[in-house]
């Protein structure tokens, strides 16, 4: 009984404006209409999405626009200072959620984080995995040595394909509950994405020089 009282109490907080009960995750108070704070919920719940790596990007955008339409500071320009500040926090939280979920690399790391597996994407430079290291060095060299538009176009296409393939593997690993492997693949995705970026930049530069 006490546990359920605690749960019930936790699901209801006082509205800052009318002081009455409001659901912890509500965006607006159903009694006085005041916008509430963003709280600390995960990015998927914030955008009303299922917590999965395989998200529908069109749906993500639709949800993001839908929430921003109601919570963006432009909706509160004529409101009180407190409401303007809360709307800014809400919009900031929505932007963070959208930016994280939009990007496959950040999304993979985030999903794994929710499952209790940390992926450190900021750690740069050293690659601990010797196989990955070797592979990266070879590919980087190939890109550096590419001296015709045809070669770099081919390398760029290959790199893009590998990025997509890696994303599929991450999805499969997560769905199979193989989180250790997914962490490993996510780190691999980080380097593949970097390579693809390098190849694309060089391709653009070389194509431009041709004209």
């Amino acid at each position: 009984m006490t546990a359920s009282i605690a749960t019930a109490a936790a699901s209801v907080v006082p509205c800052w404006s009318c002081k009455g009960p409001v659901a912890t995750r509500a965006l607006f108070c159903s009694v006085c209409g005041a916008v509430q704070g963003p709280g600390t919920i995960d990015h998927f719940s914030r955008l009303g999405l299922q917590p999965t790596f395989d998200i529908d990007l069109d749906l993500l955008e639709k949800q993001y626009f839908g929430f921003q339409r109601r919570l963006h500071p432009d909706r509160f320009a004529a409101k009180s200072a407190k409401e303007r500040a809360l709307s800014q926090s809400q919009a900031t939280a929505l932007n963070e959620a959208y930016e994280t979920l939009k990007d496959p690399l950040k999304r993979a790391a985030y999903v794994l984080d929710l499952k209790g597996h940390k992926v450190d994407l900021t750690a740069c430079g050293t690659i601990n995995d010797p196989v990955l290291l070797m592979e990266q060095m070879e590919k980087r060299e190939a890109i550096a040595e590419a001296d015709t538009v045809d070669t770099i176009t081919k390398l760029s296409a290959e790199a893009d394909t590998e990025v997509i393939a890696c994303q599929c593997h991450i999805s499969a690993a997560i769905n199979a509950g193989a989180f250790e492997e997914a962490v490993h693949l996510t780190i691999r995705l980080k380097y593949l994405a970097k390579l693809a970026e390098e190849a694309r930049t060089k391709k653009t530069r070389m194509t431009r020089a041709m004209r």
Partner: protein, 634 residues
């Protein structure tokens, strides 16, 4: 507690809840505060009127004449005085907003006025007609003239609020300077909106354009390019870029130099000649939009000279500047992660896009003819006016903008660590943790810069922050979390907290090129307008808005839960509400605040009973709102 979605719709469907007391707050206009010209517009029911002077002119030259008798004249008349009294007239001041010594050096020779930098650094000052003025004060004079124009056009109604546009590529210092100028001119800034975004709003509001669009904005002194996704009232900026000191002025200068070289080789060139040559150059450039060649005269101090120029020659002089804009477009298309062919249309903004060379190169690069159905001089003001109406009267459109430049902090060895990358949607907040490097260290200095380069000295210094009051700890033990927040105006604020103790740190801000709080206070004091009264009025308004919100909240609560109250309790609350309403009708801010406090006290018991009921209902399984799924899709 009924159906959540329904409640939301009732309370928050845009447009259904008219903002109360609209008239008290004065009219809200859109202002395009341009380098060369400014424009003001007003929107009602999304019908936009560009406000004109008695001669039917929409453009207000952004030129200020500081006369001998102390009076200040802005606009056409001021521009005409440039030749007679060049040392009393200031133009293109926008180029100096939020600028410091280094910026001025790089602009050396292109500025037609005397510039000085205070010994302690910071924003430049101008010496004009014996006065020393900041770019902020000069811009404030322009804004006051715009406000006058708007009030005359609106038949004497007070214009107190505005959306003011800024180049997307404006950094934090220049944005802050613009907001400060508005404050001096007694205009409340509802929002700073990026110029290309405002232009997109003007084009996209009727929903006739959908998909990916590029807005190419070449003004007198700034260049911006933004790529937006537009659909069903959403304007989402994907990437933006530009150059805050590249514009039609540069072309004028190139032409003026060409003329001056012809005029008298070797002889010293006077300031008067430079100004005259610049005016002639501008006229020549504009004439060659419709003609292939022409001849112009420069006459000063009795020496007259004739100068001929063909469109080909003009285009040779202009080409390097136009090519730079195209290079920037290329970078921004890449940043947006798209291909040029994905772009469905290009919108031209800014007077300089009238040049045939610009149109030709833009059409070549984007592979399609650009749109310029809306007058490129007025389109930004039109968008700003629409947004001013949306912000004050409600609207369903949504502008989602981004940071134009990366924001970073200085680390060891002068290397920049990026905290917020460019093209991040705003508002945004990001936190970074720092630690102390000495035992017992109680203060720490943080240098914030803006720009894309790796080294601090190649980026623009925004501010230096000193964190004080760090509790004494061993080196490396303190964990100071510094949060950088960029709001919807693109303005940065910083806050800091020591994580192991939870102590909020004092952040002392020294803007690198802005005005200090003291300077701003001084300027407000001896300004221009009756700033003091104005400040008091603003504080009163804020208190009244807050008080009315409190009353509405209590009334809503009474609407659902009044059965929890005894008659006495109810009477006490009703009396407190009445007291607040009476106070709001007066002009005493303290009385308003005191009445609100009494109201809060008198409703404490009521609030507790309501919370108890809420928890009991939750326990009984009565659903509390779950809005997460109800909201998103429309």
């Amino acid at each position: 507690m009924s159906d959540d979605g329904l409640v939301l719709l009732q309370l928050h469907e845009p447009g259904e809840t008219p903002v109360p007391h609209q008239d008290e707050a004065g009219l809200a206009v859109g202002i395009d505060l341009g380098t060369t010209n400014s424009v003001v517009a007003f929107s009602f029911d999304t019908e936009v009127e560009v406000l004109k002077d008695e001669n039917g002119k929409a453009l207000i030259p952004s030129v200020v004449h500081y006369k001998d008798d102390g009076s200040v004249v802005v606009g056409r008349e001021a521009r005409e005085a440039i030749l007679e009294s060049p040392d009393q007239v200031v133009s293109s001041i926008k180029r100096l907003m939020g600028r410091g010594l280094e910026d001025v050096k790089s602009l050396a020779g292109t500025l037609p006025y005397d510039v000085e930098v205070p010994p302690e650094g910071g924003m430049v000052r101008l010496r004009v007609a014996g006065r020393t003025l900041t770019p902020v004060a000069i811009s404030a004079h322009i804004l006051m003239a715009i406000k006058d124009r708007a009030e005359q056009a609106m038949l004497g109604k007070a214009v107190t609020r505005a959306v003011i546009t800024v180049p997307a590529y404006f950094d934090d210092a220049a944005r802050t300077a613009t907001k400060d100028a508005a404050r001096l001119a007694d205009i409340e800034v509802l929002r700073l909106v990026n110029e290309p975004t405002a232009a997109a709003l003007a084009y996209g509001l009727d929903n006739s354009v959908e998909g990916l669009y590029a807005v190419y904005d070449l003004g007198g002194g700034t260049f911006d390019i933004s790529i937006l996704k537009m659909e069903k009232g959403v304007f989402q900026v994907k990437a933006t870029g530009g150059d805050a000191v590249l514009g039609g002025d540069d072309i004028d200068h190139a032409v003026a130099e060409y003329f001056l070289a012809q005029r008298q080789a070797g002889a010293a060139i006077t300031a008067g000649e430079v100004k005259q040559a610049l005016m002639t150059a501008r006229v020549a450039k504009e004439c060659l939009t419709g003609r292939q060649s022409g001849e112009w005269m420069i006459e000063l101090d009795g020496t007259a000279s004739r100068h001929s120029l063909t469109r080909d020659e003009l285009e040779k002089l202009a080409a390097p500047f136009v090519e730079r804009t195209i290079e920037i477009c290329r970078g921004v298309v890449e940043d947006a992660g798209i291909d040029v062919s994905d772009i469905q249309g290009v919108v031209l903004v800014g007077g300089s896009t009238r040049m045939p060379l610009v149109r030709k190169r833009v059409a070549e690069f984007f592979g399609r003819e650009p749109l310029s159905d809306i007058n490129p001089d007025e389109v930004v003001a039109v968008g700003a006016a629409l947004q001013a109406e949306a912000l004050t009267r409600g609207s369903d459109t949504l502008l989602l903008d981004v940071t134009p430049l990366s924001l970073g902090i200085e680390t060891m060895g002068g290397i920049v660590e990026k905290v917020i990358p460019r093209n991040t949607p705003i508002p945004v907040a990001m936190a970074q943790e720092f630690t102390t490097y000495q035992d017992g260290q109680s203060a720490m200095s943080i240098h914030v810069v803006q720009g894309e380069r790796e080294m601090v000295d190649q980026c623009r210094s925004l501010a230096r922050f000193v964190l004080r009051g760090i509790p004494p700890m061993a080196a490396g033990a303190a964990r100071i979390r510094v949060t950088f927040q960029v709001d919807a105006d693109g303005l940065l604020t910083v806050s800091a907290q020591e994580m192991t103790t939870g102590i909020e740190q004092h952040v002392a801000v020294k803007p690198s090129y802005g005005l200090s709080d003291d300077e701003m206070a001084n300027m407000l004091r001896d300004s221009l307008v009756h700033a003091k009264d104005d400040m008091a009025q603003r504080l009163l308004t804020e208190s009244v808005v807050e008080a009315r919100r409190s009353v509405l909240a209590v009334k809503s609560a009474l609407g659902v839960d009044s059965d929890l109250l005894s008659d006495d309790e109810r009477q006490a609350i009703d009396a407190a509400i009445e007291a607040v309403e009476t106070a709001c009708a007066g002009t005493d801010r303290d009385a308003v605040n005191a009445a609100v406090e009494t109201l809060e006290d008198s409703t404490k018991g009521f609030a507790e009973k309501r919370m108890d009921r809420g928890i009991r209902q939750a326990l009984a399984g009565v659903s509390v709102e779950r809005l997460d799924d109800a909201l998103g899709g429309e």
